[in-house]
């Protein structure tokens, strides 16, 4: 499961390299937004229902959905899994400070640790932010010790996520983009 995420990560890197940093922003209209909103709630939502609510044909919806995928606006669809059902009880984030010249080295080191599902270089308080999903706190501590053991890591701050994590994909403000059309 986590492997897939890493694949996506690599995929994104390739995409960024190909476009040479210049990105042409996709433009969305109200039909695109209606499709995204419906699929955010339930990725298996029937195209017939979406078509009805937009007063267009089912063909239009499936064509638009394909276009959203082809233009890269949508990566695809997925199910939201509960890590606890797979024995992962502990989610935590690490804020890491390291020597400027060695940030890339530390990042590469982090990406080799299987429990780290996300890591990126950041600007601001920390040099690197990483998120780990592990079985329990003892395992989390092991991961922390491993990171701390890297000679270029100067400081590491751990935050364990305790509440039911609230996720709101529908918070994406799409209307502002539609306004540009």
């Amino acid at each position: 499961m986590w492997v897939l995420w890493k694949q996506l990560l690599i995929y994104q890197k390739e995409q960024t390299n190909q476009s040479g940093g210049i990105r042409i922003q996709a433009k969305l209209d109200q039909i695109d937004i209606a499709i995204i909103r419906a699929l955010q709630k339930d990725a298996r939502a029937s195209f017939v229902a979406i078509a009805k609510s937009c007063h267009v044909s089912v063909d239009t919806i499936s064509k638009r959905f394909k276009k959203l995928k082809n233009t890269g606006v949508a990566r695809g669809t997925t199910v939201l899994l509960n890590p606890k059902s797979f024995g992962c009880d502990c989610v935590a984030s690490f804020g890491i400070r390291s020597d400027f010249s060695h940030i890339q080295e530390v990042l590469e080191f982090l990406r080799k640790i299987p429990d780290i599902v996300f890591s990126t270089q950041t600007m601001g308080r920390h040099s690197i932010i990483a998120i780990a999903i592990v079985k329990n706190v003892a395992k989390l501590n092991q991961v922390r010790e491993v990171i701390k053991g890297h000679s270029m890591v100067r400081e590491i701050i751990t935050s364990i996520w305790v509440s039911d994590i609230l996720l709101c994909p529908s918070n994406f403000d799409l209307q502002t983009i539609a306004g540009d059309v």
Partner: protein, 154 residues
Amino acid sequence: MDKIDLCIIEALTNDARTPFRQIAASLNVSPDTIIDRYNALQEKGIVRGSTIVLNPKEIGYNAMAVFMIDISPTEDGKTQFDSFAILETIIKMKNIIVASKTVGDHDLMAIGVVRDFQHLVVVRDDIAAIPGVKDMEVSFWSEITELSPKYFVI
């Protein structure tokens, strides 16, 4: 969970719109079995739902930011601030994609998508304006803006 459940999860993780008939055919069971199993997975909370995975960069969000928030322990020395209420307010804000209470250096943590630096300041100020928010640390990045919510849902 058995082999059938895992096959369903694997297929739907890659594409949540995979027809149940197709999954059923690959496992040599009836489509009804797959539907029942999928419903059971949802009822048990193993599958929290399904969603479309967007690429924020393609729709104008060029950076992500993490907000690590400290909450003042008390209001005028008497009543305690309800960190759950603050969390609720934050999660309802536009452009925040995930938020949680945390144990450690900070009380709350939120991750959001932002269009540019100006927008980051706006989001930061919006969070700072919530009563009870004492202090905040912001880190932001533009390298990866992968929105794969399944890894954040607990």
